[in-house]
Subunit: 329 residues, 2 copies
């Protein structure tokens, strides 16, 4: 049996390109005691993937040349010699951009089909949803009546943050890179959304949040972070989730307005979602409930075919897709 | 009666120069109901003064051209038509670089001669001491056994931070810009000090704090802040106090390694010392006790004569003085 893979063929320099990756066929991996074999159905196309492609500048090891591109995937167990896993079970994990993955079960999340369809377990019910949930609720500590600003808001993390913030009684402002995305955000329940390509973030925040921003949930870094720092309300929490604008840069632009954190009597903090692993099941159940009740909605874009993974990753950074971007294997 | 003043004669562009300021003689101010007249004995030469000389980029109004340079001063009340102030009383406040100041009493601190000499009330018993005390103890929350790194450590804030951290059972590392300052820091009780001009901060921290820094007390910003971010221990607190390396720059260099705050599961926060005004008397008493017991020590450099204020301010940024720099009026 052969295993089709998308492997890293060259170390990306700056913006990732489709030909930094290549389709490769390898023998299907052999199952040893204590392992499970997963057939991937969906690959998750996430901003963090670009970060993992850098050599040695990350909180987990960078992807090696020739290795399948690291990504989250959702699939079913097709063989198991590991305790606690059974054939037919739905699982997600860092299975990589390939048809079949071997795992020793570490980091593997068991999914309950009752919570939602398999692909949702990579989005609003998976790592992005957990990032939104714990980043906003634990790090951001939203209080009713506060103003929450989310950048990169049309991504699944951003949209989920905004929708949870609304549930907590906050006024929610989102930024995104097209008018179409902004319309989507308002339909999804945001109080306001602006297209940062046609209105500067600083001007938009002064217009939409004249009293300042209490929580800034930062998915992008760069100029947007700097503009948000100019518009903090007293006691603001800046929650750093990602730096989408910076992952393709060799050195990050630091927030030159960081002293505004002092004058706002605020804090800057961040989120490593894996720290909340033990609390995921509770959070998934709560999010699944909100989904069923229509209080949280989500948008999936599913590209058909493993070979489209490189193009999908490039498109993610070009801002051409929004919602949750997936590749069906 | 004439009032000698050092006024702002031109808006500084980049590094402040002595001729951005001028000696000026004005009529002594007239005392109205509700006011007190203070004769300044000592002017405090502080890093923040440069920040106040910028137009409109500060948490308090910038100093206008022709206005006395804003600074803290210590003096005695020579006339009072205000409740709660009496002739002969020791006071400190933002009295400015001049012989005589009128005040309505707002922001004026009454000093107890029993706590220490008048000049100390501008240093270890004044705003710098309070900045060290609350920045370290409230924002930093030091725990015994933790590693504390202080930059700009030979200034009165830095030295006091280090000495209080030692009292709390921390291991304390300081950086400063000369070997002489480093020797002073070790004499003052620091576990280690390094000259950042001869050893890079990143290398020094890897040598002196291989397990990482739990509290970074940042007086300087810039490259030092970036190097400290590379060396955070898990759960680290980065306490931004000042940005001495940046005050003379038109735009601040942001900390390009800010994402390290996430991976360290840390926070970045800062301190506005005026927020603790109600708690100052208690803190002054505790610091005065530590001074008497020899647990905290301090170094004063006193320049004689109001006219030397501009040179003293320039020297502060050139790193030529250390300890608490004062001008005797």
């Amino acid at each position: 049996m052969q295993n089709q893979q998308i492997v890293l063929s060259g170390r990306p320099n700056g913006m990732v390109k489709a030909n930094d990756m290549a389709l490769h066929s390898a023998p299907a991996p052999e199952l040893h005691e204590g392992q499970l074999l997963v057939k991937n159905h969906f690959l998750s196309v996430d901003p963090a993937i670009r970060y993992w492609l850098n050599a040695g500048m990350t909180y987990i090891r960078g992807v090696d040349i020739g290795e399948p591109v690291r990504c989250f995937a959702a699939g079913e167990v097709v063989a198991s010699r590991a305790d606690g896993f059974f054939v037919g079970q739905w699982v997600t994990g860092l299975f990589g951009a390939q048809e079949y993955a071997i795992s020793d079960g570490s980091g593997v999340v068991r999914c309950d089909p009752a919570d939602g369809s398999l692909s949702l377990h990579l989005g609003v019910l998976g790592m992005p949803g957990m990032t939104a949930y714990f980043g906003l609720l634990d790090k951001g500590q939203p209080q009713a009546g506060e103003v929450v600003f989310v950048s990169g808001a049309a991504g699944v993390v951003g949209t989920t943050v905004g929708q949870i913030a609304r549930l907590k009684g906050c006024r929610v402002i989102g930024s995104a890179g097209s008018d179409e995305k902004c319309r989507y955000l308002v339909e999804a329940g945001f109080d306001a959304a602006f297209n940062y390509k046609t209105e500067g973030t600083d001007a938009a925040l002064k217009r939409l949040a004249p009293g300042g921003v209490h929580i800034y949930f930062d998915n992008v870094g760069g100029d947007t972070l700097d503009a948000a720092l100019l518009n903090l309300a007293r006691g603001a929490r800046v929650v750093i989730c990602g730096a989408l604008s910076q992952y393709n840069e060799s050195a990050y632009a630091g927030p030159k307005n960081y002293m505004k954190i002092l004058t706002a009597r605020g804090i800057l903090t961040g989120l490593i979602v894996f720290d909340y692993a033990l609390q995921w099941p509770t959070a998934v159940r709560e999010l699944a409930g909100w989904l069923r009740e229509g209080k949280v909605s989500t948008r999936e874009v599913i590209e058909p075919g493993l070979k489209h993974f490189p193009d999908a990753l490039v498109r993610l950074y070009q801002g051409g897709a929004f919602g949750k971007l997936l590749v069906a294997v």
